[in-house]
């Protein structure tokens, strides 16, 4: 009798141990594997990438900055930077560091790999926005130059990644927006188009993504006070903290009310049995998906009727151009419609 209980106890303890070690993402095994991967080479590349980003923004890179951005302790960062100086990738400049030609080329290559990989995930994969940055951070160290070029070709030479960051060419040239403003620096009643959303820190980016903000979206500032910024976008109000607003970059543009208003009703919540007219497809939909929808007949002015809804609300079947088509709720949520005029 006691033996059975003992064995059961041991078995349970064994299972618990397995769970602790192998549980996805956080298990001890995976954490150890990750730490072993973080060799000096990988960490040095992270530092170079940080300095390259500083250079693109016209700022001088510092040790503290590098250490903070990459999460590497200052002592270790210092050692790695010294090695990078020896290899002539970095030079000392006043109170900070500057990249040499080679260093800049290397850094830009990493940035290119990172942004192309994010674009790849946006266009071709089902990963959610919150995961792109993390996955790209890992992938950028493994992509060879040829693989990067192939990826670019496969994606048809994108100019920006899904955050709006420009992608450096294979020879390192990069385009930047001259006159972009952070949301928190704009005045009340200014209007503009979002061109960039900062992908770090990750939790701020997640909140912005959840609000539905993305490059290409038209916005208007409603209020801008000391702690928050209230904007109008996608047909409703969004309240952002100053920190969140600082991570959204906009190009000011005169937009009349007609361009701003536009329909806010999406196919996801449209009533069954009523005929709707498609107004536009949200910029959040990736290029390939947008193309596919257009090929299937989703164009401005097309009539569409919701016919069937699954019990859970997802997927939803629509009658369009004589055929019955099913969309996921998340897709239907990005197609804007209005009541069809009689």
């Amino acid at each position: 009798m006691h033996n059975e209980i003992l064995y059961l106890g041991l078995f349970s303890a064994f299972i618990l141990l397995c769970i602790l070690i192998f549980r996805p993402s956080n298990g001890w095994f995976w954490r150890l594997k990750k730490r072993l991967r973080l060799s000096d080479g990988v960490l040095s590349e992270d530092i170079l990438k940080y300095f390259a980003q500083c250079s693109l923004e016209g700022q001088l890179g510092t040790l503290k900055g590098a250490s903070g951005a990459t999460g590497i302790a200052q002592n270790k960062s210092g050692k790695l930077i010294e090695k990078l100086i020896e290899r002539r990738f970095i030079t000392v400049q006043g109170s900070g560091f500057k990249l040499s030609q080679d260093g800049l080329a290397y850094g830009l290559r990493l940035i290119r790999a990172h942004r192309l990989y994010e674009t790849y995930m946006y266009e071709k994969s089902g990963f959610r926005e919150k995961d792109w940055h993390k996955l790209a951070n890992e992938a950028e160290h493994d992509l060879t130059i040829n693989k990067i070029n192939d990826l670019e070709k496969q994606l048809n030479f994108p100019i920006h990644d899904p955050h709006g960051d420009p992608i450096p060419d294979y020879d390192g040239t990069i385009k930047t927006y001259e006159n972009k403003l952070a949301l928190c620096d704009m005045q009340t009643n200014d209007t503009g188009v979002i061109v960039h959303i900062e992908d770090e820190p990750g939790n701020i980016y997640s909140k912005l993504a959840d609000m539905g903000l993305c490059p290409g979206l038209k916005i208007r500032i409603l209020e801008n006070d000391s702690l928050t910024v209230l904007i109008w976008a996608i047909g409703k109000q969004h309240l952002l903290t100053k920190m969140q607003a600082a991570n959204v970059h906009v190009i000011k543009k005169q937009l009349d009310t007609k361009q701003m208003e536009g329909s806010t009703q999406t196919l996801a919540d449209y009533p069954v049995g009523k005929i709707a007219q498609i107004q536009r497809i949200s910029p959040r939909i990736s290029d390939s998906e947008r193309r596919r929808l257009m090929d299937l007949g989703f164009l401005p002015g097309t009539s569409i009727e919701k016919e069937l809804v699954n019990a859970s609300g997802d997927p939803i079947a629509f009658r369009i151009r004589g055929t019955l088509l099913a969309l996921r709720r998340s897709q239907a949520n990005l197609i804007f419609v209005k009541d069809k005029p009689l």
């Binding site: 390939s288 090929d295 299937l296 055929t323």
Partner: protein, 274 residues
């Protein structure tokens, strides 16, 4: 002379099916290439089977034909290679099977392209027809699944459709082998050059776009005077189509639309020597 009333008269399209020899996969020494394109699930493979006598797997779900299937038939002494392409919604490829279909229509130089459409979903199917028409004028629209259409109470005005599109349209129910004779007749006429269509071409009305297209079309006409569809190439360049851009840069753009004269001449010589 007593005429057998059941025998088809020489001029009638039905006359063809008598001399149709289904050749299965005997693919050597063909004279003309016929491509079968269309939206997924429209009966392309059924048409393919009817023409070649093969038994391509057909069924009711989209995406069965994943790569190219090839077969042959001969009629009135001419041998035709038939290529059954995977279904696509458009030629702006977004998946691998769509790319295969698109590349064949563009670079594989078929002599005749048959677009098989579903009569019960005509509006959506016409997107591809119009795109194919922009590239080549040797197109036939096979309006298939007519039995399904009449079951749903749909009637299709084939004559007006043909007039508006500017290409020949054939009613078919491939499952019952109805319309095959007419289709063969038109395939032959187009292949040997007896029938020349003037397909309807999309008009671009926005001034900026129209100007851009006109300018580039002029330059293409100068660089590549032989290709029959410079305007289509101009539109593809403006759209950033990588394949076309590379073809223009390499200078072998002419290969896209020329009917592969060199290949055929070689084949005819081979047949002649046998």
């Amino acid at each position: 002379m007593k005429k057998d009333p059941a025998a088809p008269c020489p001029g009638c399209p039905v006359h063809n099916t008598d001399s149709l020899k289904r050749l299965g996969i005997q693919l050597d020494g063909f004279d003309y290439v016929v491509a079968l394109a269309g939206n997924p699930n429209t009966g392309k493979s059924t048409v393919f089977n009817a023409l070649t006598g093969l038994r391509q797997h057909t069924g009711n779900w989209p995406g069965k034909t994943v790569s190219r299937a090839e077969g042959a038939f001969s009629i009135k002494g001419n041998k035709y290679k038939v290529v059954d392409l995977p279904g696509t919604y458009s030629l702006l490829a977004t998946s691998l099977d769509e790319e295969i279909a698109r590349d064949f229509i563009l670079f594989g130089k078929p002599d005749v392209t048959v677009v098989v459409a579903d009569a019960t979903r005509l509006e959506r199917n016409l997107n591809l027809v119009l795109q194919v028409q922009e590239i080549t004028s040797r197109v036939i629209l096979a309006c298939n699944l007519m039995d399904e259409a009449s079951r749903h109470g749909l009637s299709i005005d084939i004559r007006s459709l043909a007039r508006d599109l500017g290409i020949p349209v054939v009613k078919m129910t491939a499952r019952k082998n109805e319309g095959t004779a007419e289709l063969l007749d038109i395939i032959e006429k187009i292949a040997i050059g007896d029938l020349k269509s003037k397909p309807y071409k999309v008009k671009y009305t926005t001034p900026q776009i129209k100007n851009a297209i006109d300018t580039i079309t002029e330059e293409i006409k100068q660089e590549f005077p032989d290709i029959p569809n410079p305007r289509w190439v101009a539109v593809r360049l403006l759209d950033g189509d990588r394949r076309i851009i590379e073809a223009v840069q390499r200078g072998d753009l002419g290969d896209i639309s020329k009917g592969g004269m060199e290949d055929r001449a070689h084949q005819i010589k081979v047949i002649g020597n046998q």
